[in-house]
Symmetry: C2
């Protein structure tokens, strides 16, 4: 392997996607900048620029573009508009999430609700949704609109579900999956599916790309939730134990609760349902999870979803872009391998 | 005039519209109830039912239906779905507004952010937007989607503008009009215009109904803003002086500021820009407005918009529904006549 080859190998699949899609991504960035402007309300680009320029990885727009190219899109602006659309939806949900979670940091910087106020975060989030809506109507494709409307409902329902399922030990894996689809997978799958549809792909290819985005998003989110009980702050950008302190019913907890004996159950009731957490409780939670193999079982689930994502792409001929998407499916679980 | 005729006359145009559109409205109410349900997140219908059942006048859905019938719609579900769509959008904006304004009362009842929390209001608002989006896609009419997307952007931009224009004495009547379109008129005009489009109306009729909704909304909002400096709590459901205390740049203030001498200007700077309000300041503001005829000028503007709304309908033949919409244009300014 040459030095260049080694360097190429060292790059993550996201970097290689960004290079392969560079021309499209430059156009998408132009659309994002133009469309988030507001002649009369300078607060809007202030707030959004803060977030959109803040080193987001632009994963979701790249998924739209990659799917469209995998399905042989000939060019034009439509797939770029849809790519900007999903980034706007993503940014809008981040703004609203930070209000809901009362977050103070996002991507290593103070959140908009901290820099400005909750009002600005709510209203600028609404503005970005509206802009997304305008952009997605422009290609004039009703099937794409249907996909994005359904994804929006799944996202919103998942968010509410997360709010009401928090602190509820009765939360099942089925509900967890709905929350995860809302938080992450619904926009991933809408991105890949709408990219395929706008390229005029056949039904089998559209379905394959929906399945890829869905499985990729679920694998990604389970890995993220796992790292909250075992990763390092450097690997995740968040602190181990955040979910525990927020009493979230993530997959490792759900699996441990399902196998709990009476004494362990009393522990979970105290720390999660009652929120009475003391020194050493996080360690005790980790110990109980280890005893029941809960982290291992969640890891196996994540790997399974990653494999499903790869398998979905098997309908496409081998080509560099498919390889990058395959690698991306490995990459999202590499942190927990 | 018979007793019945007198009673009929005493009813407001909204009541007569509700009677004329009763069958459609019953169907719209069924759609609203079905579509706001969420199998897994009972918090959603709890919050929305609280608001949607709370005696809202359903003015916006009636505007969709009236416009569609004025343009001779033959039946079907599409106009009803669009009517439910605009009610969902309206309810979503109310939920977000109450978070932004930190309101404690709406329609004489405690607001959702007070009964539940800000989180629920933000997320359930998002859920209703998403549900609105799904509903509006179903008729499969791209022109309607374009209208509603543009209205959403106008609404969101107007809200942000209102936030940033508050307390800014440089706010012009042009900016005020943008805020008013965002707050009120954009959804009124989107309702009437989309009703016309879904009925397959000719361009002139579509334009007329857009103009009617736009002018009606502006007349309504100016009247509302005027009453804040002179109405009674019973007439408006809000207290005289609320806008003053919140330092809002509404039309009467803008007109008074434009004619202010040095001493008056210092007063406006103190009470609006600096927010240093003392006993008797509201009365002083009213006195300054009276001196410059600011309330009278704003009243004249409202009457002008009301007349424009009526004039827009002149392209339609005389019929009961047109008469009710004419009367509605009178009604919204009757409170300030």
């Amino acid at each position: 392997m040459t030095m260049d080859g080694a360097a190429e190998q060292a790059k993550g699949p996201q970097d290689r996607l960004a290079e392969a899609l560079a021309e499209d991504m430059a156009a998408v960035n132009r659309i994002i900048r133009t469309r988030m402007a507001s002649e009369h309300a300078p607060r809007i680009p202030e707030v959004t620029a803060h977030l959109i320029e803040a080193g987001g990885k632009r994963l979701r727009p790249m998924l739209v573009l990659a799917a469209a190219h995998l399905c042989g899109i000939a060019g034009g602006e439509d797939h770029r508009k849809l790519a900007a659309t999903v980034e706007f939806i993503h940014t809008a949900t981040l703004l609203h999430d930070d209000v809901v979670d009362e977050s103070r940091q996002r991507r290593g910087r103070p959140t908009a609700n901290l820099l400005w106020d909750n009002k600005s975060s709510v209203l600028v989030g609404d503005y970005l949704f509206a802009r997304a809506f305008q952009l997605m109507v422009e290609p004039g494709n009703l099937r794409v609109l249907d996909i994005l409307a359904n994804a929006s409902a799944t996202i919103a329902e998942g968010e509410v579900l997360q709010l009401t399922a928090a602190q509820d030990l009765a939360t099942s894996e089925e509900i967890y999956l709905k929350v995860v689809r809302g938080k992450t997978a619904a926009l991933f799958s809408a991105a890949t599916e709408s990219g395929a549809v706008i390229a005029g792909a056949a039904d089998a290819a559209v379905r394959a790309l929906y399945n890829y985005g869905d499985a990729l998003g679920i694998a990604f989110q389970i890995a993220d939730d796992l790292l909250d009980y075992g990763g390092t702050s450097a690997a995740t950008g968040k602190n181990v134990g955040d979910d525990f302190r927020e009493r979230k019913l993530t997959l490792p907890v759900i699996k441990a609760v399902a196998k709990a004996n009476a004494e362990e159950r009393a522990f979970w009731v105290r720390v999660i349902e009652k929120g009475d957490q003391r020194d050493g409780d996080l360690e005790r939670a980790q110990e109980i999870m280890a005893r029941h193999g809960a982290l291992e079982a969640a890891r196996t689930d994540a790997m399974g979803w990653s494999a499903r994502a790869r398998a979905a792409l098997s309908v496409f001929p081998d080509q560099p872009l498919r390889g990058m998407l395959d690698d991306l499916a490995d990459f999202v679980v590499a942190r927990i391998a």
